[in-house]
Amino acid sequence: MARMKFLCDAERCIGCNACVTACKNENEVPWGINRRRVVTINDGKPGERSVSMACMHCTDPPCAAVCPVECIFPTEDGIVLHNKDQCIGCGYCFYACPFGAPQYPRVSNFGSRGKMDKCTYCAGGGGPEAPGSAEEYAKYGSDRFGEGKLPMCAEMCSTKALLAGDGDVIGQIYKERVVQRGYGSGAWGWLTAYQEDVKV
């Protein structure tokens, strides 16, 4: 089985936020929820870099470990999904997530959180809904993965900075880029998410 990963090549990312828009559009993400975002480091300074970040679908995902109701789990493709029916909105996955991926709609008084929402790798949800069904779409968004397609964000990236797919393949693509152009700031988040880096 291929191990699905994301990789953002910061030397190619131009911070256009098309991935953010593509994600919102594809998955009909509610207002105020951002499954993907672009963070610019050293904004306006020498060495400025933009990185597109969402759930990295970690190996040994910390969100799944801390979940008090065990509603988050990795699939056999390494995609981290969750069951919104079981989520209690405690917010612990946000404290554990190294990438700020979990999002919570504000549903009630105080800062009380609703059911957690995050990037599903466009692979539907982890609940009991039938894959590709309207119920699943309403809760979790698109199931492109079930149709053999990759996440919309990476597919839409105009500079091909954001890569999605089998970790070995996208790691190899990134490695070849770095070798060819002679520099690269690293596979952002890989060591933290997958406990391995792209060796160049």
Partner: protein, 352 residues
């Protein structure tokens, strides 16, 4: 330059000192997972030039690994108004995961089961502490109705908070396998709301208790004598005490400290990210969990001595009236003042 390089617009000196506190805390609490080090020198990020004099766009680009060696989390500028999203990466999340899933489980189990074991041993060795002189049949009022109401308001809300709180940490180990995921999830959802709302009742109870009993819980010289005389555990000696003995005073002050700490950290968690950032939230959760576990152990001891451990103690909080001989044995100075008050209502005496 050091902070500017890594934190961009969103970071600041306040954030940096929080990092330092957070890491100091984590090292103390669970000195593991040292995958990150804050130490390390930062190359000065100035614009660099190629040999032909043109700015070199790649030379000043900072690599992810360099950044992570320098700061515990990488922050930057973000277009959306959600400031939390400006944190690109915080590998410390995995450390918090380790605390929550390994350290806290062991700590909680050892402290709470350990306390129950200690109390069990106490009961087996000491047994129930009887009233030495037997019951006199005469009653003295110890706590009035309002005092008992305040105590039970705090006590009931504490038990509710403790059970619903322990469910978040231990429920998935103890309860989930028994009742199944869906039932456990519904229960935990309800428990979360109960926990959130009961907190207000607990705080009100705590405020009332402090307002009523602060005066009588100020440490005095008689407390030293009480400890010297064996804290009431040695039958041949008499440990003198006013309205509250040194043990009760210890429970009062520890409960006040722990109560304030869990309330403050708890409200930080209840209003997430209103006043703090991700590091603050993690620290708040760590403090909330650790103090709450210790608080539960303290209250287990308090419940034991007030019910099983001592004859005649429960009725002080039950009916509000204690036996005269019990009062003589455990709170002689207070009894003397009470009796003096009864005989001469105009003259008010002070304890010890």
């Amino acid at each position: 330059m050091r902070s500017g390089a890594a934190t961009g617009r969103a970071g600041g000196p306040r954030g940096k000192s929080r990092f330092a506190i957070f890491f100091a805390c984590l090292r103390v609490v669970f000195g593991t997972l040292m995958c990150l080090t804050i130490a390390g020198t930062l190359p000065v990020l100035a614009e660099q030039f190629a040999p032909d004099g043109a700015p070199d766009p790649t030379a000043s680009g900072v690599s992810q690994q360099t950044l992570l060696r320098e700061v515990p989390r990488i922050e930057g500028y973000i277009d959306i108004p959600d400031t939390r999203a400006s944190v690109l990466m915080q590998p410390a999340g995995r450390m918090w995961d380790h605390f929550h899933e390994v350290t806290l489980h062991w700590f909680g189990a050892v402290v709470i089961i350990g306390m129950i074991a200690v109390l069990g041993c106490a009961f087996l060795i000491l047994g129930r502490l009887r009233i030495s002189a037997g019951r006199s049949g005469t009653k003295v009022q110890r706590f009035n109705a309002f005092e008992r109401f305040s105590h039970w308001l705090t006590a009931v809300s504490f038990v509710v908070l403790a059970l619903t709180g322990l469910n978040i940490t231990f429920g998935k180990i103890l309860l989930l396998p028994v009742i199944g995921k869906d039932a456990f999830s519904s229960l935990s959802q309800a428990a979360k709301y109960v926990h959130n709302f009961t907190s207000f009742a607990f705080v009100i109870g705590l405020v009332l208790i402090v307002a009523m009993w602060l005066k009588d819980n100020i440490p005095r010289k008689v407390d030293v004598d009480w400890l010297r005389q064996g804290a009431g555990f040695i039958k041949s000696k008499h440990a003198p005490a006013g309205r509250f003995n040194a043990g009760e005073k210890a429970v009062f002050w520890l409960a006040l400290l722990a109560g304030v700490a869990v309330a403050v950290s708890g409200y930080l968690l209840l209003f997430p990210f209103y006043v703090t950032n991700i590091v603050g939230m993690q620290i708040a959760q760590v403090l909330h969990a650790v103090i709450a576990v210790l608080f539960v152990a303290l209250i287990l001891g308090h419940i034991y001595i007030g019910t099983l451990g001592m004859e005649g103690a429960f009725e002080a909080m039950g009916s509000g009236e204690v036996d005269l001989n019990w009062a003589k044995e455990h709170h002689d100075l207070w009894l003397r003042d009470q009796l003096a008050k009864q005989h001469q209502p105009a003259v008010s005496g002070t304890a010890d």
